[in-house]
Symmetry: C2
């Protein structure tokens, strides 16, 4: 929790108990949850929390670059604790989103221009059938 | 129109006038429109068309692989006529979505596995400030 408090302090986000609980959940659960999934989990620990608080907190974290928003499913936003740059694989059979630890040559440090545009974020979305579903066939 | 009719025939989609009009629009306008933008344009040419028909047609084209769905904005789906593999850049200032003609080494022909998962689609989404907006500053 101490590390997370420091992270919030650095981004000038007041480290309330609710915010710390949400950030801790996102750090520990790398399953790319939706805001609703975060709410369902958090309200068991913090029963007084409202859905609006969870949504507002998620947007504050996004704005401050503490988490990333994934739009890979095309259905709803998923959230990811920010670590090193990595990409995502969505299994179209079971719906699992996997982290993919490959690098895009255009996303290497120091390389932040592409065709004259200034790049601030890169999201690599791979879709197909995951290794678990392949084995089941 | 003849080429587009052939494309629909190949995918076993009955080439009605409405479907051909929508596909023609998507082929000629590579601005990654939303379904609503397609509807607004098409109803000027085909005033009897309903929004539902446009939505159903777009989903039929998607299912048949004639177009791709982009979720880059996180707000709404955008549609793209399928050509060679390319990636997309979203300007966070003006909202324009640009085609980016770079290749991902993991998306080259014959390379369809990543970390044990079978890859069927790759979407590279770059976000930042586009060259036009950079010049305006």
């Amino acid at each position: 929790m101490k590390e997370l408090k420091k992270l919030l302090d650095e981004k000038e986000v007041k480290p309330t108990f609710q915010r710390l609980s949400i950030l801790k959940y996102l750090e520990e659960n790398r399953e790319h949850p939706t805001a609703d999934m975060i709410y369902e989990y958090i309200r068991e620990k913090v029963p007084t929390i409202s859905k609006t608080t969870v949504y507002n907190t998620v947007h504050k974290f996004l704005e401050k670059g503490l988490i990333k928003e994934l739009t890979i499913t095309g259905q709803e936003a998923r959230y990811d604790f920010v670590t090193d740059s990595h990409h995502h694989f969505l299994c179209e059979k079971c719906g699992t989103i996997y982290d993919i630890d490959i690098n895009c040559p255009h996303g290497l440090p120091g390389q932040n221009m592409v065709r004259g545009h200034k790049v601030e974020e890169i999201h690599g979305y791979f879709k197909g059938i995951c290794k678990n579903c392949l084995q089941k066939n």
